[in-house]
Symmetry: C2
Subunit: 327 residues, 2 copies
């Protein structure tokens, strides 16, 4: 089968597109004929070695998200059958092979039924960011209808999904981003208020708009805890999902005297049953048109190295939406 893989961690140039042996599903694995996959920041950290697992198989197929159709099932697979359309995330880490290949053997516990009217590209593009957003908002922040969420970085892959999902849950959403084009994009996603973090005094504007937020979703690598805590209501919850190498100042008094909580998580360490609950709700929202991924481009497996370079340049505005491959 054709696959995009590496023989050792390092720069995007290490990605090879070529032939690897077809995998065989064992145990409760199924064989998925891939139709689409997408790129996430974690893919580049694994590939570069920044977050490579100690038990990484080599050659290692890159990629976490997928959409495809079942081609065969392993002897203990019970839920899925050949011909079923599926989607999923959480591959290419913790010793598992990735998804940038024509075929993959994946444990059926990581695969979700594809809603009828959803495209492979949409499901693949929303897999990791969608599950991340749901786990953060529901499992960690316990977001309730009528509460207010601030999404700091609302136009990115996760941020844009958090905006839509918080609205679907019934929350009021304040998004921050930079520049009129991205601000308009956040509005089209459903944000009730949009601020420009380069020009607006965010805590001051939050106070004027809402008197404080219940949930702050941080996407920046360098969270500004002074501004965050100043923007929160008492008993507010802050979600942290990025900043692997960051060290920032933490104002202790502002945190505890407001009875705040801070919740960090890495989606790929979230228990499989929690991810499945998220995926089932995401399936319903996708089918109902309440969630939609903005896709920057749909490329082919041959473009894998270039897609990683684009993903790594995303902070400088290289992409506007998800990078997807059609397989």
């Amino acid at each position: 089968m054709k696959a995009a893989y590496i023989n050792q961690t390092g720069p995007a140039e290490n990605i090879i597109v070529g032939q690897l042996p077809d995998p065989t599903p064992t145990g409760s694995q199924v064989l998925v004929r891939m139709r689409a996959a997408s790129v996430n920041p974690i893919d580049t950290y694994v590939r570069s070695g920044l977050a490579a697992p100690p038990n990484m198989p080599l050659p290692f197929i890159i990629g976490s998200d997928l959409a495809g159709v079942i081609a065969a099932v392993g002897p203990q697979a019970k839920k899925l059958k050949a011909g079923d359309r599926v989607w999923g995330a959480n591959q290419g880490i913790l010793g598992r092979q990735g998804t940038f290949s024509e075929l993959a053997a994946i444990d059926e516990s990581w695969l979700y039924a594809m809603p009828e009217h959803v495209s492979d590209e949409q499901a693949a593009a929303l897999a990791l960011v969608g599950i991340t957003s749901h786990v953060g908002l529901v499992e960690h922040a316990h977001l309730q209808p009528g509460e207010t969420v601030l999404v700091n970085g609302g136009s990115g892959g996760v941020g844009s999904t958090v905006i839509q999902m918080a609205r679907a849950i019934g929350a009021t959403v304040i998004a921050t981003t930079s520049g009129p084009e991205k601000m308009e994009y956040c509005r089209t996603l459903g944000a009730n208020h949009v601020l420009d973090y380069r020009h607006d005094d965010v805590p001051k504007r939050v106070a004027e708009l809402t008197g404080g937020v219940d949930v702050w979703w941080e996407t920046s690598w360098m969270p500004n805890f002074d501004a965050i805590f100043a923007s929160m209501k008492h008993r507010g919850r802050v979600i942290l999902i990025a900043g692997r190498t960051s060290r920032v100042e933490f104002p202790v008094g502002a945190f505890y005297t407001k009875c705040l909580s801070l919740h960090g998580f890495a989606m790929f360490l979230t228990p499989v049953e929690v991810q499945r609950q998220a995926a089932e709700q995401i399936g319903k929202w996708l089918d109902a048109g309440k969630l939609h991924a903005k896709i920057d481009r749909v490329a082919s497996l041959d473009d894998a190295a270039e897609l990683h370079r684009l993903q790594e340049a995303s902070d400088s505005g290289a992409i506007r939406g998800k990078l997807v491959v059609k397989i």
Copy 2:
């Protein structure tokens, strides 16, 4: 009535012991004839002005914790009657008068039935620290039997209560403190393992003893987040309750890649019904002999200023246990 009060915030010398008019219970207040009260760090912050509420009544009676007996009830008080023994905390803040007085008019929602075999001094000494410990361990950390708790600063007022309570819940407890005498004290409180934070490499010793802790209870004003996060299991919870003016470094990656959460709270902002649930469980543990306050001394209202000076010198070892007044 005799009371210890201030006419303006400032040093301990501002505390006056003298006569004030007897209060009259209105609404759902009851009149408590005080028998004991105790000193907590928050009392000194309120008195000094560091944490004085904007609507502080003047003259302001100091003190938060209390034990006493009902002398009279207000027209809407429904739960308590004259002669009932009660205990409580959470006075002397948020615009309410304190407890260092012969009489106090207190809303009955803040008062709890005194267990039969418990002394006024014990209940007053355990009120704020006990409710704080319970709210942190149960409401915020969701501590489960069989989990491991590290109490950083196990010989202090809150720390010594957290050790006992975590053991009563069925957790394994690691306590840190300094010097052989305090280490032995932590052992008598029930700590399974005791470390000296001046000499031990805490994360290394935690790894050897337990492979990581589920809950870290921080009592220090300057939390060392590198050491804390290195000591935690995945999905561990950290409790912060002090450090009003502290700023410390926060390693973002170590926090979120371990799926940790950080919970800050000020006991006096905890909802009244959550405090009552804590108080009811504390009453049962007190009655069963599972909780015991170490009392440094029992003094009189006349000693109030000296008690505040001692409390403020507690970091330099001026006291070994709670400061209590018998009224």
